[in-house]
Symmetry: C2
Subunit: 353 residues, 2 copies
DNA sequence: GTGAAAGCGCTAACAG
DNA sequence: CTGTTAGCGCTTTCAC
């Protein structure tokens, strides 16, 4: 086999223009074709397992490919095919176990279908998220936006450019963009009922990121509940979504005189738990605490955290299903709103007399 | 502007061959060129901010691009340029906070340099990891392998195909592949010294994944320490790397009669802590426990976990530095071995009399 | 069954 | 400064 031969398929190999200087020994489909003494089309057919190639030729091609250590360029293939077999995920915060689980679920599901996952973190920044979303989408065949912080108008303006798109914990009313979410309203109602049942009347809510719609959901329901229950007193404290912010809020929590704290999520709950601990406050003796999400560590804290469990992994997996359907031109199915499950563990107890 | 005009740059727009049927209205560089009445080269120049374009022309191009909602195809661009501005990361287990932190560090650093991150999980499977590594590398400009489970011979055979490659917690002696790692030997020695200082003589090691070289490192040092210290008794228990496995090991730990358990990592330590708790064993009263990694939750357990802290985020960031250097043809700098810092918290105490 | 050629959408060397 | 052209590496239609 003449491995030294130039590309016999190019018409006039005169001056080198355009493109970029590549490694001239790199194995390309042309070199393999030359080496095997066939056309590039045939190599392509063999590499893609077409059966319409004479066994003898196919063998020769395979041998040449082997000898040259040839591997088709996925990039060129993507360009010709018009698809990348890659999907993207954008999350506000990679440090949040909630998003880590979504990432994992999506990665696993996509991987099972031969797709790769591209990830980007917006750092809770709506501007950055828009840029990232557009770019990520263009590098892949589909996009999943988890708990997007992009304001409704912008998101609405953007969604067509981002399609195929699947939204997690977010929706764009009036559009066909598939959305998978958690019913935070129901979760909060369950938590409140649980707390009221224990005799608590003064609650404090440790609020999450303002741009988070799931925070808004919680807030809305909390206020509605407060308005609807006589003697139910609600205080709102801006907090955040991390341990640190929860921890830092401990003193403020105490100052409200509340007997129960409803934390934005489990991490905040942990932080508060830890902070109160350090302040010598007994949980749930003096103060009860609830979280949200049921992240892996929630059951291992001391005491184990009462929280509302949500199907994090499932969210990622289902997101893939929806996205896949969209990418194959199928119907993505109905939107789903997962119902949180209240897990009563040991950070909640009767209100102190 | 004639938005309807076909591509005037193609010689004989006769029959449609090759490629794939695309949306004929899709904005491409050619359509923009036509609309603006310039050549594609000029459009390319404008889009890439070349200053050598007449302001008037540039304006026309920008207007046309705007009108057509044009965005250059990153795919085509990558093919022409020979680079993707994307790097890949492969980890054994996305559920492990250690790898989540590495992912985050890498993502942030790469993002700051305008690069995207592709992620894949090998599920602790060496075979799968090899496939993933090769494919991921071909889709991007560089690869980071975190705690690779690929056996040395295969990894050695593979590393050239994977370059630019950076290894985390792993190395290939005799090659120039940059490696960033943690000195598990030193970490374990510190832990053992701490435990011996407290009077412990019977230790049990909850071993991690067998394919993990960092597990081997720990084991080697542990055995050496045991061999070197009179009266030091070491038991090894196969465990794993998760909560669940640590939790499940509690009973076995008790059966060994050890007064201190050295867990593979923090998650295992948590599991064991929790399991022992349920068995009514007091920590550190009856049994001391140490972890490794100092994952975010380690300081929030009850009691807070004594562990060896490692710069997880830093690993991701430094990995980027090395990779970036490699990709730009620069020297990646010297390998580094980070020294763990022993964090004595409250799961360790004097051995019971 | 197989090859020639057109095409995916962009970049860059070259010539004016 | 701008257009022409060759090229990145692969796929697929069409014709033999």
């Amino acid at each position: 086999m003449s491995l030294d031969a130039g590309d016999t398929h190019r018409s006039k190999p005169r001056a080198r223009r355009g493109g970029v200087r590549r490694d001239p020994t790199a194995a390309t489909i042309s070199r393999v074709a030359d080496a095997a003494g066939v056309s590039r089309a045939t190599v392509s057919r063999v590499m893609n397992g077409s059966t319409t190639v004479a066994p003898e030729l196919a063998a020769r091609v395979r041998a040449a490919a082997e000898a040259l250590n040839y591997e088709p360029s996925l990039l060129a293939r993507s360009l010709a095919l018009g698809r990348t077999s890659t999907v993207s995920l954008i999350v506000p915060d990679l440090a949040n176990p909630m998003f880590q689980d979504i990432l994992r679920g999506l990665s696993t599901a996509a991987g099972a279908h031969g797709h790769r996952l591209m990830v980007a973190e917006s750092n809770e920044n709506a501007e950055a998220e828009q840029i990232l979303a557009v770019e990520a989408r263009r590098r892949s065949d589909g996009l999943v936006l988890a708990s997007s912080r992009i304001p409704e108008p912008q998101l609405r303006a953007l969604h067509e450019r981002l399609a195929p798109l699947v939204l997690l914990n977010r929706e764009i009313p009036g559009t066909a963009v598939p959305s998978l979410s958690v019913d935070y309203h129901a979760g909060i109602r369950a938590i409140v009922a649980h707390l009221l049942g224990y005799g608590h009347r003064r609650l404090v809510y440790l609020a999450g990121p303002p741009a988070s719609t799931s925070n808004t959901d919680r807030l809305v329901t909390l206020r509605a509940e407060a308005a609807g229950s006589p003697g139910f007193d609600l205080t709102e404290l801006d907090c955040g979504s991390t341990f640190e912010t929860g921890h830092a809020a401990a003193r403020a929590v105490l100052a409200t005189g509340a007997t129960a704290v409803v934390a934005f999520n489990d991490m905040v709950a942990f932080g508060a738990l830890s902070g109160l601990h350090e302040l010598g406050v007994s949980v749930p003796g003096q103060v009860s605490i609830t979280g949200f999400d049921d992240i892996p560590f929630a059951r291992y804290t001391t005491p184990p955290l009462t929280t509302a469990s949500i199907p994090k992994n499932e969210l990622g997996g289902q997101a893939w299903e929806r996205l896949w359907a969209l990418m194959s031109g199928a119907s993505p199915g109905y939107d789903a709103r997962f119902q949180p499950r209240l897990l009563v563990r040991d950070t909640t107890g009767p209100a102190p007399a």
